[in-house]
C-alpha cells in the first residue's frame, strides 16, 4: 500500500508523515513538488510546514506546482488525499476543499496539544474513528483561521462536510477555575494557570471548524497534525495513527 508524501520547498513535516505511514503499516513514497508524477501511489499526504515562503497567501503558489497538476485531477477522480496544516491550505487554494485559511485572529503563532471532536467518521481518512470521538493532537500554526462565507458554511454543515471541530470547553474551564479557587482555600483565583484557549477556539476559525472534507470523502484537510501523535513517548496521544490506518483500509476496500 503506497502512500505518497509530497515535499514542497519549505515542508517541515514530510518525514514525520512518512514515518506515520510506515508505523501504520503502509509504504511511504516521497513525491517531489517539481515532478508531475504521482509514481503510482494509492493515496497522498500534503504535509505541514511552509511552501514557497507562503508568499501571496499560504499555499497559493504551491497550488500551481507541477505535482498539483497531477494531483488535482486524481483527487477529483477519488484518490484519497490528506492535507495537514500547510497541506490543508494548499487544498483550499486548489479549491479541492471549500473555504480558506487566514492569519490567526489573535495574530500570534500557536503551538499546543489540541482537543478535537470527530464530526465525520465516514471519510477515507477518518473511518477508524467513531463520530463524536474526542482526540488530542498537536496544533501549530500562524495562518490557521478557517474562514468561508455564510452560504458555504451552511452548505458544508448541512452536507456533513465538517470533519473535525475544535473542542471549546466553556463549562469545564469555568469549573476548573472554581475548583482551583476552592482548593487553595483563599476563594481568590490567583495562581490558576490560565489557558487562554480554554473558552474559545485557538485561531478564530469560523464555527470552530478544524478540518473539512469534500463531498466524496476522499479529500480531507485539517489544521492540527495527526502525524505528530502516532508513537508512545512522542506527542500527546496515539490518536493520529487512526488517520493512516483508516486510509490503508479504505484503499484495500476500494
Amino acid at each position: 500500500m503506497k502512500i505518497g508524501v509530497v515535499t514542497f520547498p519549505g515542508s517541515l513535516d514530510d518525514h514525520d508523515a512518512q514515518r506515520a505511514v510506515r508505523v501504520a503499516g503502509g509504504e511511504p513514497v516521497p513525491l517531489w513538488h517539481g515532478d508531475d508524477s504521482l509514481r503510482g501511489v494509492d493515496a497522498v499526504v500534503l504535509p505541514g510546514g511552509f511552501s514557497y515562503g507562503d508568499y501571496l497567501r499560504a499555499g497559493a503558489i504551491a497550488r500551481f506546482a507541477p505535482v498539483m497538476t497531477a494531483l488535482i485531477p486524481a483527487a477529483q477522480g477519488g484518490l484519497p488525499v490528506l492535507g495537514i496544516c500547510n497541506g490543508f491550505q494548499i487544498l483550499c487554494e486548489s479549491h479541492l476543499l471549500p473555504g480558506a485559511m487566514i492569519q490567526n485572529d489573535h495574530r500570534t503563532f500557536i503551538c499546543r496539544d489540541q482537543r478535537l471532536r470527530v464530526e465525520n467518521a465516514t471519510t477515507a481518512w477518518t473511518s477508524d474513528f467513531a463520530k463524536d470521538d474526542e482526540i488530542t493532537i498537536v496544533l501549530k500554526n500562524q495562518d490557521g483561521q478557517y474562514v468561508a462565507d455564510q452560504h458555504t458554511l451552511d452548505e458544508i454543515e448541512g452536507e456533513g462536510r465538517v470533519a473535525f471541530r475544535y473542542v471549546v470547553e466553556r463549562r469545564v474551564a469555568a469549573r476548573r477555575l472554581v475548583d482551583q479557587s476552592a482548593a487553595d482555600g483563599s476563594g481568590a483565583l490567583s495562581g490558576v494557570r490560565y489557558d487562554r484557549f480554554a473558552t474559545r477556539n485557538p485561531n478564530g476559525s469560523y464555527r470552530d471548524i478544524a478540518g473539512v472534507t469534500n463531498a466524496r470523502g476522499n479529500v480531507v484537510g485539517l489544521m492540527p497534525h495527526p502525524e505528530h501523535a502516532i508513537e508512545a513517548g512522542y506527542g500527546p496521544s496515539l490518536d493520529g495513527l487512526k488517520f493512516f490506518t483508516s486510509v490503508l483500509k479504505s484503499v484495500v476496500n476500494s
Binding site: 501571496l56 479549491h95 471549500p98 487566514i102 492569519q103 490567526n104 468561508a148 462565507d149 478564530g204
Partner: protein, 94 residues
C-alpha cells in the same frame, strides 16, 4: 514600459487581523478619527511596451486565478498606471 496595477482586498465578511492590528495602533499616535482599517494588496505588473487591452485582459485573468483567492478576496481594481505616483503633499503632525 507599461505597468498594470492590481488591487486586491479581503471580502468585507472576512475578518482582517492585519487591519485590526493597524486600527489598534493608530489611536496611540493620536489618529482617533479612523473607525476601521482594512488592509489589502497592491500588485504592479510590468510589461514591455504599452498596456493594451490584451495586457489588461491577461492581468485580469492573473488577478482572478492567482493574485487573489475568490473564496476570501475581491479584485477591486485592474488598471494601467500612467504617471509615476507622487506622494500626497500633506504634512502630518505626529
Amino acid at each position: 514600459m507599461g505597468i498594470v496595477v492590481v488591487d486586491v482586498m479581503l471580502k468585507s465578511e472576512i475578518l482582517d487581523p492585519q487591519g485590526q492590528a493597524v486600527a489598534g495602533a493608530l489611536p496611540r499616535l493620536g489618529f482617533n478619527q479612523f473607525t476601521d482599517v482594512r488592509q489589502g494588496k497592491r500588485f504592479e505588473l510590468t510589461v514591455e511596451g504599452e498596456v493594451t487591452a490584451e495586457v489588461l485582459a491577461a492581468a485580469r485573468a492573473a488577478a482572478e486565478t492567482m493574485l487573489s483567492n475568490p473564496v476570501i478576496e475581491d479584485v477591486v481594481g485592474v488598471r494601467a498606471e500612467s504617471a509615476p505616483v507622487e506622494p500626497p503633499a500633506v504634512e502630518y503632525q505626529v
